[in-house]
């Protein structure tokens, strides 16, 4: 029967080539676009991890935005215990800490409410200085230095070398104010962050709040894929040690990535659905024509004793072969197109980064397999109606067909 199905496809070569071509085109285009989306997604993943780390460990209320007072601060002794537990986990490249505070940034007669993130300069885990587009980054030994987002700098009329005052409330509830020199301007993936966030040295943040604590421990791992298993393992270690801190992964921490990833998923789904519908209707039309042309032949094979389900299977096999051949040709063509695209080396600067990256197409298993499987499934589904018609026709009527 498989042989007969293939021969039937070969009987009208032009029509079969047309349908194989359409299946192949759909498969190739979706492979390239899906591969492109996957590469873009992975570039943005890498960028996001550079900004947030793979994991952040902090008080659950702080991570959920429900913290009040300074009860969320992690003391030096707890920090040391947590870092010890984290380093025991496989694949951990390093850790750093942050301390964020809300304050009032004043320059001349203008003020802005900001979130100042106290970071360890050149910590080897997160490179905030990578975001700097003007001036310089923070350096070890800096205390009274600040990196300001480009949007905020424009709004306040700030330039590199200007001085600002940052006012905040200490953990004891007193007001504290300290001057800072704007050493650099940075860009970020979100305009909101650029408008409301500044980076200061950790030491400055601790002095301003009058504390030796930090609010989060940032963890970098050797591989992105290890993120979620490491988060679970570290969470278990913390719980066993009785430390009431929570672990969050980078994808949860970055609203920008969550939004973009959702958009990519939508694009992925839309494209696959479009290919599915295109292939479905084209193959449906072709197999319906084929059924009408072969009605008498169907009558003959039914008269010879071919059962209805065997005729049904014959048509399904024709759909399967159309999908498989078209899908395979499409996958090969798509890979060839993608290799050409990768060889072209088109540069792109992801939002919130300074260093441009090279656009390309990733060949993950899903990128190659999903369009292929969709091609086969859609041709199989489109074969169902003509296959059903072929089984319902009366043998005598079919034998009379011209």
């Amino acid at each position: 029967m498989a042989n007969l199905a293939l021969r039937n496809l070969a009987r009208n070569r032009r029509r079969t080539l047309l349908s194989v071509g359409i299946v192949a085109l759909g498969c190739a285009l979706s492979l390239v676009v899906l591969g492109f989306v996957e590469r873009s997604r992975s570039l943005i993943q890498e960028t996001t991890v550079l900004q947030f780390g793979n994991l952040q460990i902090a008080d659950p209320d702080l991570l959920d935005g429900k913290a009040e007072g300074f009860g969320y601060l992690i003391s030096p002794s707890t920090r040391e215990r947590v870092e010890g537990l984290v380093r025991a986990e496989a694949g951990v490249k390093g850790t750093t800490v942050q301390l964020s505070l809300s304050g009032l940034l004043a320059v001349r007669r203008t003020t802005a409410v900001v979130r100042a993130v106290g970071v360890v300069p050149e910590n080897g885990v997160l490179d905030y200085n990578d975001l700097v587009v003007e001036g310089r980054g923070l350096r070890p030994g800096d205390v009274g230095a600040v990196l300001v987002g480009q949007t905020l700098a424009e709004e306040l009329g700030l330039r590199v070398g200007d001085f600002v005052n940052l006012t905040a409330t200490t953990v004891a509830g007193a007001f504290n104010v300290s001057p800072l020199e704007v050493v650099g301007l940075f860009r970020f993936s979100s305009a909101e962050v650029e408008r409301s966030q500044v980076f200061v040295p950790l030491e400055f943040a601790q002095l301003l709040l009058a504390t030796d604590g930090v609010d989060r421990i940032v963890v970098r791992l050797d591989r992105l894929a290890r993120t979620w298993s490491a988060a679970r393992a570290i969470g278990r270690r913390l719980a066993s040690a009785g430390i009431p801190l929570a672990v969050r992964t980078w994808d949860v921490l970055s609203p920008f990535y969550r939004g973009l990833s959702g958009f990519f998923d939508l694009l992925f789904g839309f494209l696959i659905a479009a290919v599915f519908v295109l292939v479905f209707f084209v193959v449906l039309q072709i197999l319906t024509l084929s059924f009408l042309e072969r009605t008498r032949e169907i009558g003959t094979i039914r008269a010879l004793g071919t059962r209805r389900r065997e005729v049904f299977r014959l048509f399904l096999q024709e759909g399967f072969w159309l999908g498989t051949i078209g899908g395979a040709v499409g996958a090969l063509a798509g890979i060839a197109l993608a290799l050409l695209f990768n060889a072209a080396g088109i540069p792109w600067q992801p939002p919130g980064t300074v260093q441009p990256v090279t656009l390309g197409v990733d060949f993950t298993g899903a990128v190659v397999l999903v369009p292929l499987v969709v091609s086969v499934l859609s041709t199989l589904l489109s074969a169902i109606l003509p296959a059903y018609q072929a089984t319902r026709v009366s043998v005598v009527d079919a034998l009379r067909a011209v």
Binding site: L4, R7, T300, I301, A303, L304, G305, R308, V395, V396
Partner: protein
């Protein structure tokens, strides 16, 4: 069974029509294509059903071939009533025990002569080696050795009908039913085909039932039944098959 070139009929009924009636709706009217036909074909019979166009002979053949169902009456195959059998059960009988020959040959155009003949054996799941042997033997018997790889469009009308005959016989059926097997052939080729049918009937002892309006076919028959307006008008027994 085959002795001295003749098939000695055992008398066992292979196909029986009992008060077989077929009515077709045609607008408001009901057209009675067959009207209470009784008929029995015995093993080894070579029967011709003769009648003009529209007399109901093809309808009768379709019912006896189990590809159509009667409005009333019953078809018995080897004594077994068939009216209550499912489509699938009827298909199983057809593939194993009934050979069909059509007026327009009805070969599958994408398959070679050998593959066309092999097709029913694929349905009966005959082992590959046996399939090949049986196909080669039957093609040789119908005079088509050397034509195995030819597609139907590379064969003459007579050769195509020989392939169709080989396809009908390859499963070693109990009955071969042929609908106007000479209608699309010239008279010389038609004569060759009828001689072949007669020889196969003798050699295989298979029941042959041929419907035709071609008078040249009648001399080959052992039994000649005449049908008119859906009713069997009479039967002429001609004894053992003879040559015209």
């Amino acid at each position: 069974m085959a002795q001295a070139g003749f098939c000695y009929v055992s008398g066992a009924p292979v196909l029986e029509a009992q008060r077989l009636t077929k009515v077709y709706p045609m607008g408001q009217e009901q057209v009675r294509a067959l009207d209470r036909v009784d008929f029995t074909a015995l093993q080894g019979d070579f029967a011709v059903i003769n009648g003009p166009s529209g007399s109901g002979k093809t309808t009768l053949l379709n019912l006896l071939a189990l590809i159509d169902r009667p409005s009333e009456g019953e078809v018995l195959f080897e004594g077994q009533p068939t009216s209550r059998l499912s489509e699938g059960e009827l298909a199983l009988i057809r593939r194993a025990k009934i050979g069909l020959v059509f007026q327009t040959f009805n070969l599958i155009p994408v398959l070679s002569a050998a593959e066309n003949v092999e097709y029913p054996l694929l349905l009966t799941k005959t082992p590959r080696r046996e399939r090949k042997e049986r196909v080669a033997a039957i093609l040789a018997e119908v005079g088509l050795a050397g034509f195995e790889r030819r597609r139907p469009d590379e064969l003459s009308g007579g050769q195509r009908q020989r392939v169709a005959l080989a396809r009908a016989l390859v499963t070693q059926p109990r009955a071969v039913l042929a609908d106007e097997p000479t209608a699309n052939l010239d008279s010389a080729t038609g004569k060759q085909i009828m001689e072949l049918l007669q020889g196969l009937n003798r050699d295989h002892c298979v029941t042959f039932l041929v419907v035709t309006h071609d008078p040249a076919v009648i001399p080959y028959a052992q039994r000649v039944l005449t049908i008119r307006d859906g009713r069997l008008q009479g039967e002429e027994r001609r004894g053992e098959p003879g040559t015209p």
